[in-house]
């Protein structure tokens, strides 16, 4: 029997609304790395040595071209990497027991919003202060948008990644899309 076909939460959605571009990002793997007790320093060194990325903080993600790290808890980070079949297996080959690894790829939907008016649209659903002088490049925040838990990351001048639970992906898209429509 052939392997099962896969469907992303928003089936590869992509749209332009006024000057705003909105698309689903689905070519990634997302993995939770939980740091065993009393090993934070060791873990940070391994991440730096193996991936060349420093430990993130609760307000700033850290990235190189291949990987972005977010801190979700003091002893837990999320790692966003290019898509692989079995991210738990692949990562454990590299970092071994340095972390408890859990695949989270399917638990989240990721939208990218970009454009000169992206902040104006996000004002309608995001409580975080996104002023470019306050929410700098690579900044991240955990917040809610229209009652859905969301992680927001600034990835470029006017570009943001929005991550939310995959089961409410359609509601989340509706919320973001409506915001873009309302200001366009």
């Amino acid at each position: 029997m052939a392997k099962l076909s896969s469907l992303s939460p928003l089936n590869g959605y992509q749209e332009s609304i006024g000057s705003i571009s909105l698309r689903e990002i689905n070519d990634y793997s997302l993995v939770s790395l939980a740091i065993p007790q009393d090993t934070t320093k060791t873990f940070a060194k391994i991440i730096k040595d193996e991936f060349g990325v420093a430990m993130p903080t609760s307000v700033m993600s850290k990235t190189n071209k291949k990987m972005r790290l977010l801190m979700t808890q003091p002893d837990q980070i999320f790692s966003i990497i290019p898509q692989v079949d079995d991210p738990e297996k692949d990562l454990s080959k590299i970092i071994g027991n340095a972390a408890y690894i859990t695949d989270q790829t399917d638990a989240w939907v990721v939208l990218e919003i970009s454009g000169v008016t992206s902040r104006t649209a996000l004002e309608r659903i995001c409580q975080v202060d996104l002023d470019p002088n306050i929410f700098k490049l690579n900044a991240m925040a955990r917040t809610t948008m229209e009652h859905m838990a969301t992680i927001i990351i600034r990835t470029d001048v006017d570009t943001f990644l929005l991550m939310s639970a995959s089961s409410s992906a359609k509601s989340f898209l509706h919320a973001v899309k409506l915001s873009a429509q309302h200001i366009s």
Partner: protein, 981 residues
């Protein structure tokens, strides 16, 4: 009507006429008019009828404080009652109708209530309509209901869209008059991020309505200059048509921006946006509102606030009468006279109760000092006033100024109290302002222009310094201070006729005195008893007047009398704006199960389970009712095989070297020694020993468990476990992460479930020995897709649950159906799921209702005495394990044809259904296709000892009282042979 009351000047654009209707009468105004200014320009005096007495009323003010000119705007579903004509921007095609009259506005049948006014004073409804008692429901109440209220709803759904949003700033400035603009310039030049908001569509406040000079240019030109400067600054955001309606905690303000109310159509965009503004600092520059003087018959159309008369002339180019008199106790009334005369408006007299020399010399105007107005004539339009010195004057407009009340509301929204200032005869902000809030200009008691400009600039400069910004960048604008002297003169006494205090609620000086005489001494009681200060204007023009009269009546001072509590919103906010986008299907987010698309294709009926949409049953063409569908799904599952999407149940991955020990503390039963590859059912207790969730937890590796929770409790369990992890057992190496949305999980149940799954699962020995009951494993499915397999059974049948990452969920359900075709596999929904678990005696939230213990559900043996766990100690309290406690039982109707309802109470035969005789309750019920009758689960005192007993199930709500047999809760396959086979 032509615009016979237009004069030269004003800010309206005469090159852009606008057509509108009032009570179906066509009229013309100009761009820049409000509905009120356009009505006045057209000579429309009568605009409504008063609330209680249906007295003819005209436009009273020029702003959001308007008590009289409440109209119904628009038609059909867009119809909106109680809209103030004074703040309604005129647009082409606007339709407005007057409110609160039966018959026409000019001939209101309900005006007979004015004749009954002696019986309709304050609190009349506490003293009347009492007898006969039977008349209340059928006669009095319907009449009162149909007469009460102002305006009417369309009874259609509001078709407009609304939105919400969040803004951030260093400094929020509420109000764009002289102090607000001065503050914005100072702070803007210093580099602060500013939001300046004004409820008006033109910024400038009173500089648009009064003739002033600021550094050699007119006030209006200064405003234009200031706005041009501010518009150029990228750190300044200007929000016209935006009311700052509330001051909330931590420097957060509520604001309502009216985006399209001034347009004929919203064009599919939100009509209004409700903003939550997070400010480091805020300046309240909301100015002051003029108040009236109470004198006999002071409510006629044509009697207006003097500042409003001035505003209509200066801003809108409208004379409010052909012969205007001014009655004032302060110098601003004189300034009004000077400006009106300068514009060619006919002012016949100024009446001033102060015994001084005239405050100005105005040629052609009679200046009558030391006198007051003591009566007026002209029911539908003022035509004459009578003075206390005996004079009568023929006038068609009386401009009244009783002083100015600083708009302190936003300073008091957190229970702050304003303080009385005798010099200006008004309340000013008290000392306890909301955090980060400052006040400037007239709102702070700086009533004159020079003082307002100065205070705005100075306060903003201080704020900028405090926030670490450079401050000496902008120059302070200067202007002269006009005269502002006032005599505290509240009402004209000694006359029989009624003198109005609150025009909107028809409250007179007599009502206030009566209220005091009847024992309502507190100003809060005065408000409730008389309704002074209620409804859309919230007493903006009447509150101070009312409590001044009350102070006199009680012999107290005004400060001693105090004010009522100020609450948001400052002015009315549509409920739709508070609702925002949350309406219809978007009221809350929806969560979809991985097989939702497939289930929809099958025609499933869905049900809301919290935010989830779950398939409830899958109707087929032969099914006549939902029961047919559910019965069929149950029978087919129990005789062959069924599949159900159980992805919504909570899944928590628990990892760490101390994961087992952690679970040992979370669950009441032992978990430390669960072997890898096995699943165990677990019970969770609250700290007080009450059961709060149950589920199965699988051990996939030494340091890796996967917990399932009930759908409803997924978040609660996760939150409690995180609390336990971080706060109760911080020394344990254990980590949690929700994987509810990571995995699509399907239950496959029935005698042929093994056969179906053998086609799905790769390379696993699916025999009973190879994969026994309560086994689990990481597997691959369908030729290599990673997955997990659990042999667990909620239905009581031979059953499994198979999980794959959600992206494969849709594909997997289709493969399972294909694999099950030869066995006539049936999808089943939550109803069939519920029937089977009741038949089996498995508890859910209906039983674990937050009141029952492990003892009650016959699981006391699941509380280990060999280890400590959350809730175990308190679960052993004497009362909780007493012999007479309720115990879980099965219930079967004695008569096969009877049906059971959950919530029925167990009562012995022959006993009355009382609390004393209540022996327990029915928790869950269903029709059982297996037993071919209605069954249920319930809780009965000493239930475990009473199997076989016949008792009553009494339902007082539905009116049923039937006999039931008490049986073991495990009605179906009590030995469990099927699920272990």
């Amino acid at each position: 009507m032509s615009q016979s009351f237009r004069i030269n000047g004003g800010l309206t654009d005469r090159s852009k006429p606008i057509n509108f209707t009032f009570n179906n009468k066509k009229m013309v105004g100009y761009e820049g008019d409000t509905l009120a200014s356009a009505l006045l320009a057209n000579g429309q005096r009568l605009v409504g009828r008063s609330f209680k007495y249906h007295r003819p009323r005209g436009i009273f003010s020029a702003g959001s404080e308007e008590p009289n000119a409440l109209v119904q705007l628009r038609t059909g579903a867009y119809q909106e009652p109680n809209t103030r004509a004074t703040v309604t921007e005129l647009f082409d095609g606007l339709t407005a109708t007057s409110q609160n009259h039966r018959g026409s506005l000019g001939f209101d049948f309900m005006s007979v209530t004015d004749l009954l006014s002696p019986f309709l004073g304050a609190g009349f409804y506490y003293k009347t309509f009492m007898w006969p008692k039977a008349f209340w429901e059928k006669i009095y109440e319907p009449i009162i209901r149909s007469s009460a209220g102002l305006g009417s709803l369309s009874m259609l759904e509001d078709p407009d869209k609304y939105d919400k949003g969040f803004l951030h700033c260093d400094l929020l400035i509420a109000g764009s008059g002289p102090s607000g603009l001065a503050a914005a310039l100072a702070a803007g030049h210093a580099g602060l991020r500013i939001i300046i908001a004004d409820e008006d569509y033109l910024l400038g406040g009173r500089l648009l309505e009064e003739d002033h000079n600021i550094e050699g240019i007119s006030g209006q030109d200064w405003v234009l200059q200031a706005l041009a400067e501010l518009t150029e600054m990228s750190n300044v955001r200007i929000l016209p048509r935006t009311t700052i309606y509330g001051a909330y905690d931590h420097g957060i303000y509520g604001a309502l921006e009216r985006k399209t109310d001034h347009l004929a159509h919203s064009g599919d965009k939100p009509r209004q946006v409700l903003w939550r503004i997070y400010s480091k600092r805020a300046m309240i520059c909301g100015g002051a509102t003029e108040r009236s003087i109470a004198f006999p018959n002071n409510d006629r159309p044509g009697i207006m606030l003097a500042g409003a008369v001035r505003a209509y002339a200066t801003r809108y180019g409208v004379a409010t009468g052909n012969k205007i008199a001014i009655f004032t106790n302060n110098d601003t009334g004189w300034q009004t006279a000077v400006e009106l005369v300068a514009k060619g408006v006919n002012v016949v007299a100024i009446i001033d109760p102060r015994d001084t020399a005239p405050r100005a010399h105005i040629s052609g105007v009679a200046m009558i000092m030391g006198a007051s107005v003591c009566n007026t004539s002209g029911r539908k339009a003022l035509n004459r006033i009578t003075l206390t010195n005996g004079q009568t004057l023929n006038v068609d407009c009386l401009a009244v100024s009783g002083g100015w009340s600083p708009n302190v509301h936003l300073t008091c929204h957190q229970r702050g109290r304003p303080i009385w200032n005798d010099t200006i005869a008004g309340f000013v902000p008290g000392g306890d302002l909301p955090v980060g809030q400052f006040v400037a200009g007239a709102a702070n008691g700086d009533m004159t222009l020079g003082a307002a400009l100065k205070s705005g600039h100075k306060t903003a400069t201080l704020i900028a310094k405090d926030l670490g910004f450079t401050t000496n960048v902008s120059k302070e604008a200067k202007a002269d201070d006009e005269n502002f002297a006032i005599k505290q003169f509240w009402h004209v006494t000694g006359y029989k006729q009624r003198a109005w205090i609150d025009l909107q609620n028809d409250v007179t000086t007599k009502d206030i005195k009566q209220s005091q005489a009847e024992g309502f001494r507190s100003v809060e009681h005065l408000k409730r008893y008389t309704t002074l200060g209620m409804a859309t204007d919230q007493g903006k023009t009447s509150n101070v007047l009312g409590l001044a009269v009350m102070a006199e009546a009680t012999g107290k001072t005004i400060p001693e009398t105090g004010t009522t509590i100020f609450r948001p919103p400052y002015s009315p906010v549509a409920i739709g704006a508070f609702g925002g986008r949350e309406r219809g299907q978007h009221f809350h987010p929806t969560r979809l199960a991985p097989s939702h698309k497939w289930a929809d294709e099958q025609g499933a009926e869905f049900v809301e389970v919290g935010n989830w949409m779950r398939a409830q049953w899958f109707p087929k063409s032969d099914d006549k009712t939902w029961r047919d569908s559910v019965d069929r799904e149950v029978k087919k599952t129990r005789t062959s095989v069924g599949v159900c999407d159980v992805s919504t149940l909570g899944k928590i991955d628990i990892k760490g070297r101390d994961a087992a020990e952690f679970l040992n503390k979370i669950y009441s039963n032992p978990f430390a020694k669960v072997p890898v590859g096995r699943v165990r059912y677990g019970l969770m207790l609250r700290e007080d020993g009450i059961c709060y969730d149950d589920g199965t937890t699988a051990r996939l590796a030494e340091d890796h468990f996967v917990m399932t929770t009930t759908t409803a409790n997924a978040v609660l369990v996760y939150r409690n476990m995180e609390f336990a992890r971080q706060c109760l057992f911080p020394n344990l190496d254990v980590h949690l992460i929700s994987t509810t949305d990571q995995w699509a999980q399907f239950a496959i149940a029935g005698p042929n479930s093994r056969a179906v799954l053998s086609k799905i699962i790769d390379k696993v020995d699916m025999s009973n020995d190879g994969f026994p009951f309560m086994a689990c494993s990481n597997v691959t499915v369908c030729g290599g897709t990673p997955g997990r397999l659990f042999r667990i059974s909620f239905s009581g049948e031979l059953a499994y649950e198979v999980a794959v990452p959600v992206r494969y969920g849709d594909a997997l359900i289709r493969e399972i159906i294909k694999a099950g075709e030869e066995f006539d596999i049936t999808p089943y929904g939550t109803e069939a799921l519920g029937v089977m678990r009741i038949e089996k005696g498995h508890v859910t939230g209906a039983e674990l209702n937050g009141q029952v213990t492990a003892f009650n559900v016959n699981m006391n043996n699941m509380i280990s005495t060999k280890k400590d766990s959350i809730g175990s100690v308190l679960s052993r309290r004497e009362m909780m394990i007493a012999d007479d406690q309720v115990r879980l039982v099965g219930v079967k109707t004695v008569e096969i044809s009877d049906s059971l309802a959950s919530g029925a109470h167990f009562v012995a035969k022959g006993e009355k259904p009382t609390t004393k005789n209540d022996q327990g309750w029915v928790a869950s019920v269903c029709y059982s296709p297996h037993f071919e009758q209605h069954i249920g689960l319930g809780f009965l005192e000493r239930g475990h000892e009473r199997h076989g007993e016949i008792i009553r199930a009494w339902d007082g709500v539905r009116g049923t009282d039937i006999l039931v047999e008490i049986v073991s809760a495990h009605m179906y396959d009590p030995e469990g042979g099927l699920q272990r086979g």
